[in-house]
């Protein structure tokens, strides 16, 4: 799963927060197929961690721009 965020700062924040919860994730550049243009950053994570990640992002005030179930390759 890929969660697309506004910026690298936001991606790093979510990635760190998930790491503290024991969820293995990684920061990735958002694939062209997913982004609406320009560049962007996402957090790649296991599918079963999606709801935790969404809640965490919401709690942190992060702006999720999109979610891609393919995992971005």
């Amino acid at each position: 799963m890929l969660i697309q965020l506004q910026s690298m700062s936001e991606a790093v924040r979510l990635w760190r927060a998930l790491g503290e919860k024991g969820i293995r994730a990684e920061v990735r550049q958002t694939p062209a197929s997913m982004r609406r243009g320009g560049c962007g950053y996402s957090v790649r994570l296991p599918e079963n961690a999606l709801s935790v990640a969404e809640m965490t992002a919401q709690k942190m005030g992060l702006h999720i721009l999109g979610i891609d179930g393919s995992g971005g390759g």
């Binding site: 506004q6 910026s7 690298m8 700062s9 790093v12 760190r16 609406r36 560049c39 950053y41």
Partner: protein, 379 residues
């Protein structure tokens, strides 16, 4: 060399600061937010860690509201130019550094009127003196937390409270206090906090920051790449990206982060206590020296780590030169980039000599400096 010029920039730095800069340059100095390889991510992580540490130090609830700047001057300019417009009134004090005074003068050409809150004989600004200058057009109050000449600490919490009640933006210039005097943007009612990274925060030169309270939108002075929302013709509308166009000073920020951590571990109260002890020691000697006038408040509890003197006969520049060449003591002489303060203290012609001890100075060094000054003045 005995260094008493921490008011200009602190020296030496903690080992952790220099080591962090070295490690960054040697191990991971990639471009944060300009790629997703592991070094870029590590760089971004280090920047975020620095933001978090500084936020903890200043009571900032949302670290993304803190943007990195080149220095305190840069931060102050961002706040002033980014918020004021034609028809606005700005209140500053008659003690402000050129970092506030010069932009204020330049803004007058854009139709921004500057009003000056009058300080007292010790160079300190009262709540009442600021209140007197408020008009229906007052958009911002920008006041230094402490003077870089007189050393007196201003009542920012009370001024901030008044500004909040009247819907006026309150910006604080923390050039002489960040890292050595407790600052809490929530408790102190601060809307914008401008601070240098290379003074009391013990980071490298070329670092600083600006905190912007949520709800306040600062127009960016610079526009360019942010590594985010690149499809847009304008910079993003969110912080920190909106105000951080271009590649950031990562090695500097890595050092600043460790400086902030050093302060967090040591505690501002302990640092201020140490500096005031040295100030008291020097003050007690200086007031007994003939032809010497100490500038600023007599009550040491009202001071930060700055102690300036003027001389009845000697030229402070000449005295500073002897202290340097003969005694190996680094101090600063002149107007200290604060002509308003020099005027307030009546030392515009010759300026003053400033001792500004830091966290690593000792009582023995202070004693040696006072002995040296005594010998120079006795000649």
């Amino acid at each position: 060399m005995i260094y008493f010029d921490n008011g200009a920039t602190s020296f030496p730095k903690p080992v952790a600061v220099t080591e962090a800069v070295r490690r960054c340059m040697n191990v991971y100095a990639a471009n944060a937010g300009r790629g997703s390889h592991r070094l870029s991510v590590l760089s971004a992580e280090k920047m975020w860690e620095a933001r978090e540490r500084l936020s903890r130090l200043f009571g900032i609830l949302k670290p993304e509201r803190l943007v990195f700047t080149l220095n305190c001057t840069d931060a102050l300019n961002m706040g002033l130019y980014g918020l004021l417009k034609e028809g606005d009134d700005l209140i500053i004090s008659d003690m402000e550094h050129n970092s506030v005074y010069r932009p204020a003068v330049a803004l007058s050409e854009k139709g921004v009127r500057t009003l000056f809150a009058e300080s007292d004989a010790a160079g300190m600004v009262s709540l009442e003196s600021v209140r007197r200058e408020i008009t229906p057009r007052t958009r911002m109050i920008c006041i230094q937390h402490a003077s870089n000449v007189g050393g007196g600490i201003n009542p920012i919490r009370e001024i901030g409270q008044m500004a909040r009640e009247k819907g006026i933006i309150f910006m604080v210039d923390a050039a002489q206090t960040a890292g050595c005097v407790s600052i809490d943007v929530e408790k102190d009612n601060i809307d914008l906090l401008a601070f240098p990274g290379h003074k009391g925060l013990l980071g490298p030169q070329g670092t600083g920051g600006l905190y912007v309270r949520e709800g306040i939108t600062v127009r960016p002075m610079r526009r360019g790449g942010t590594g985010s929302a690149s499809e847009s013709a304008d910079v993003p509308d969110f912080l920190p990206d909106r105000l951080e166009s271009g590649t950031q000073n990562l090695p500097g920020i890595a050092g600043l982060s460790e400086g902030a951590e050093f302060i967090l571990q040591t505690g501002t109260a302990r640092i201020l206590q140490h500096e005031r002890k040295l100030i008291k020691q020097m003050y007690d000697r200086l007031v007994r020296m003939p032809g010497v006038s100490v500038l600023g408040p007599d009550d040491i509890r009202q001071r930060t780590g700055v102690l300036s003197v003027s001389f009845k006969e000697k030229d402070p520049t000449f005295v500073a030169g002897i202290l340097d060449k003969k005694y190996g003591i680094a101090v600063r002489a002149g107007l200290h980039c604060a002509p308003l303060a020099a005027k307030r203290f009546g030392v515009s012609e010759k300026g003053s000599l400033r001792f500004s001890p830091g966290v690593f100075n000792t009582a023995r060094e202070a004693e040696y400096a006072m002995d040296a000054l005594w010998k120079i003045l006795s000649r």
